[in-house]
Symmetry: C2
């Protein structure tokens, strides 16, 4: 019987859990809406219930451990959350210690961007590569890095906060409190904001849709229909992604950049603009690095957290 | 007898070599002006002459190998230079293979920013730390990163090109061909350029010095004399450094940032402005990371290349 790990992807909207085989296949899965305002013990009870439900379907001896992907920043060395903006009551909460109390087996904890990077490295678009930068482009922008066949964790396990590179000093306000971050320009939230402003400025664009109703989905739909305002917004979105990715190429020198998150559903549309930007603006030695879509889709972090559990066990942690 | 390594710092202006003890102490050193236009074989002959001169003073059995720090970018995995803008004729040159032909002992090769980071990690400001970002601020801006007790090399060994993070899209032209890079704003060259422009715009500043004569040294001297134009230039310089460093904190999460290079001679003047910028603009979890001056001064790369030779031997390379 192959060994299994339980992967848990804790998010502000959903808690998802999966039983994952050592080869990366999801055997069973379960999910529930996150009780985000109820405090940490309620959320931990949700994680425990999902995980135990899955574990109950197989021989417990097959399960090597539990990996948990969490929104951050969490100090994954001490296991203490510094703050989780999307979940109430987690500031200073000893997340790893409390998880270990609830599970009768080893628990590994990872910031969500790094967990997803591990998933794509072990089982997705970056399999068998030595150097990977993973970027999730969704409500915000997060990421994680594998360099020289190892996870780059940094102090407190907080490396890879790639959404908070400043690309435009004194630029747009970012949820982090800063100005001009990559996230403030290239996230799905930023795209939607630009879309609403463009709809207000160009009556008749988006087939006359009320500007408040314009979101990422509407922008890509109007782009496909040839709406020139939407086409320009999407081209700009690709350019902003290119800007951030060029910086990441220079700073990390990866073999590939893997793009995940909701906006990656439109990767085929964005890719030519991203690649054109890199071809024009990266230093010559970095121009041939490909940008690929996350192969695991919405499951990069879910499978990655299970992969983390396998990795940690194989290293005797 | 303690073991020794020969460290070589190949630069566009000088070739420097040193005999370095395992504890980091320089036992002997030698240097010469780089014959930068004479082609790679002439430069290699310079390196060989310096190294053999030093090696001849000690028992050869004590020398474990040679480490060479090179301007880049050089693919340190294959050892082939992609191009070295400051040295003629190195594009496509098999630098490591040619070095090995000339030495009867192991040779290690590293891009200069990474070599200096290794020096500061092993023997300088970052001793005993797990995560270090080293930034050299000089004619240009380079760097190197230690994360999780390991050198971050990336594809082709080209990670850490931190000078080419874009901080200002469509901003100032950078020698790399890009626009708005960290180097284009915060290098010594960029500071001098701003100084000349300010001197031209403010007659009487810099004690009436001809604007063409304004360089970094003159700017810091005028700042010390209370010249308000110079004070503002230096304050801006600290702010630009802060901008780049905030990005590096978020991306790498180091224990410290170490600043080297010629501009670091003025570190005490710049530090408060850098720290104020970080305190205001970094995400809270990263605000307490100190910025320190390189402890090895101009020798970070020289000692670092020797440290690389020790590290590689200890790893059986």
């Amino acid at each position: 019987m192959t060994r299994l790990a339980i992967g848990v992807d804790l998010g502000g909207t959903q808690v998802r859990a999966a039983l994952v085989e050592e080869g990366g296949a999801i055997v069973a899965r379960a999910e529930t809406d996150t009780d985000a305002m109820a405090g940490p013990q309620a959320v931990l009870a949700q994680i425990e219930a999902l995980a135990h439900g899955l574990a109950g379907t197989v021989d417990p001896a097959r399960i090597v451990g539990v990996g948990v992907s969490t929104p951050g920043p969490v100090d994954t060395l001490t296991g203490v959350a510094s703050d989780i903006p999307t979940l109430a009551g987690f500031a200073g909460f000893p997340l790893l210690a409390e998880l270990r109390k609830r599970f009768g087996q080893p628990v590994s904890l990872e910031n969500d961007g790094i967990a997803a990077a591990i998933g794509e490295w072990q089982f997705g678009a970056g399999q068998s590569l030595d150097h990977i930068v993973y970027v999730t482009v969704s409500t915000g922008i997060g990421g994680g890095v594998i360099s020289d066949k190892r996870v780059v964790r940094g102090r407190k396990g907080m490396a890879g906060h790639v959404g908070h590179m400043v690309l435009e000093p004194c630029g747009a306000a970012c949820p982090c409190g800063g100005l001009g971050c990559f996230e403030a320009y290239a996230s799905g939230t930023a795209l939607a904001r630009r879309g609403r402003a463009a709809a207000a400025a160009h009556p008749g664009s988006f087939s006359g849709m009320a500007c408040e109703a314009v979101d990422g989905r509407a922008i890509f739909a109007a782009d496909r229909a040839g709406d020139p305002v939407a086409v320009r917004l999407v081209d700009e979105q690709a350019e902003w992604l290119g800007r951030g990715f060029v910086n990441l190429l220079h700073v990390y020198s990866p073999d590939i950049i893997v793009m995940g998150g909701g906006i990656a559903q439109e990767f085929d549309r964005l890719r030519p603009g991203i690649e054109a930007y890199i071809a024009q603006h990266a230093m010559p030695a970095f121009r041939d690095v490909p940008v690929l879509r996350a192969a695991l889709g919405a499951n990069s972090g879910l499978v990655g957290s299970a992969a983390l559990a396998f990795l940690d066990r194989s290293q005797g942690k």
